[in-house]
Symmetry: C2
Amino acid sequence: MRTLPKGAHLFIGVDDLRLLQDIKRLEEALAIAFAHVDVRGREGKRAIEEGLGCVSSRGLFAGSPLPHFARSTMDGYCLRAADTNGASESIPAMLARGVEIHPVLTGGPIAAGTDAVVMLEYTEELEDGTVLVSRPVAVGENILAVGEDVPQGTELVRAGEILTARKLALLAAFGYDEIPVRDFRVLILSSGNEIVPVSEQPSLGQVRDINAYYLHAMCCRMGLSAVCGGIVPDDATQLYEALLGGITQYDAVLLSGGSSAGSLDYSRSVIDRLGTPGVLVHGLMIKPGKPTIVGSCHGKLVLGLPGHPLSCALTAHTVARPLLSHAAGLVKREPLMIEGRLVRPIASAPGRRDHIPVLVERGNVFPLLSKSASISALARSNGLLTIDEGCEGLSEGAAVSVEFWEE
Amino acid sequence: MRTLPKGAHLFIGVDDLRLLQDIKRLEEALAIAFAHVDVRGREGKRAIEEGLGCVSSRGLFAGSPLPHFARSTMDGYCLRAADTNGASESIPAMLARGVEIHPVLTGGPIAAGTDAVVMLEYTEELEDGTVLVSRPVAVGENILAVGEDVPQGTELVRAGEILTARKLALLAAFGYDEIPVRDFRVLILSSGNEIVPVSEQPSLGQVRDINAYYLHAMCCRMGLSAVCGGIVPDDATQLYEALLGGITQYDAVLLSGGSSAGSLDYSRSVIDRLGTPGVLVHGLMIKPGKPTIVGSCHGKLVLGLPGHPLSCALTAHTVARPLLSHAAGLVKREPLMIEGRLVRPIASAPGRRDHIPVLVERGNVFPLLSKSASISALARSNGLLTIDEGCEGLSEGAAVSVEFWEE
């Protein structure tokens, strides 16, 4: 029935397949991109107080053992274990303070010539400096040996690892007051004549730029540096110049709105003209995100993401995130999954992977499917449900695994 | 058997109860503090690109409906639904382009005088400008009405809410290029003669300051501003001056190492001298964290946390975090829980709540209990297991619920 009208590019929707001649499965597309996108980024430095959420640029090691001296794990007295052989409440060992037995606090160093700590509870100090010990202790008892917590040479964080509060505490213990961090820079561009800057009042037919801020925040959460480069009009020359500047000055470029509708034609050809190999994949068997463009120019990642904000956010998570993670050399992180039961059935087409924003509350998984409420669905969701290619849909009450949003 | 020796303060360990005469359950302690600690903080401004992880200082509302004009959800044509009554493939409706029927792209505005959109698939445009429509459409079909995504006046984020990528996207849609954020300032102090700055080489008996950086990162993750104020020697006068400066210039003060061992005596009295009511609670029925001091001076929160880094981190999470959250007026967030099975039994004393760092991997929960490896246990853990007061321990294979670390 359908006929392509004249001026057809004006009518090509995000679901239009005809220009996507070689649509690929997500894994396949990612594998192709992994092979063509170099791992990049320079090394910077961050003061430890500024390190949270940054990415370590190399493996960082324990330059000394921790503890670096044998420490008591109790308040009590250091002594030679042999001196307590046979000690009991009725016949305590009697040891000379300052000679055979030495007071020690939790964390304090073990006195030279001693090999055990007896807890304060099992001692009594007399006026004359004699200390009574009412039980035997074993060699090494209540002592934390040198390197017992962290042996010298231990890898504390790996290259490409995101720094948490716990990792920063570990690095502090080894004197890392400055941390070498990966400096990977992403340029974020928005395209479309209908897009206006967030500070402007949109008129009829216009919408504010939303995608740039979502993508920016996602990059920040990954420990990458992102710059919002503004809005590029629907014009091949201006797009070419903006993208060329991007791949010249940045490590990766994310373009939203550059993969669908009227822009579909020239985004693809512009990316191809930018550098080799250009477009690697155009068209993914995912929903949303089908018209996504995955490109690489001179080893740098260039992505064209959908302009629709919910589609852009979901595709950013499912496509841009793993690719940026590869390009920046990040350690692969297991997604945070939670189990729940679907409160409504969801239909899905086999052969296509669906990504659905969901709200998980007390084990109930509410799919936020409403096409009509995309921004609110994104904002209300706390996770993402994936329906795999082989699945034709999920019934009400189905047990599902939901990935929590990290960004 | 046990006798308190002379110079007893040198020997009082973190588990010593004698100076903790009124030990309290955690909930009770928190409730007392909530009643005495004011909600504080000023309002600052952040550019939207800098807003991730910040706390909104007030409720932010939709100043306009979204969309602000009726939009098409499909590529197709705007028309009056009534004009398609009875249309079929064999007898299509014939409508004049530009008069009765108007092309529209997904997201585009609905033409004046029309009330529905027919998908491109059900149309055929002839050379003479006539458009054939092969099925009837209903009023409102394929149209996103004004405010259907987000009605005008909707609260987009609440006061005290942490800004995620999704919330920033929502705020961008409504023109919030600058976001009013809460500015709540925390001073972090470390105490103890044995503590040296992270940049220094510790000698025998000394350890680097670890707690300050953990606490700093935890505050940052909560959207609070934190400053590491350095190390205060074990001296009541210097501690008094440091804390006084803290409660004068900051909204809250966290002191680590100020609650145990030798410092236990004077931290408490110093906090009492700082201002009324002073120490609210000294001693909690939790492990670790028993000697924690919860204080309030002129409505500002002052906390004394254990000096042992693992104890400090766990107590920061279980005690400092909810109190800071209250003081900064943050929206209460449900912790991120995951279910798993314990791979080893854990003993616990009834009447005491235990907090144990754990590593959760594929549903297996590994308790990281080793007293001897505290920093490494903290760094390796990805969550926290709580054993409630009423529980005497957990057996191997027990189903447990683990809270994921957020910081």
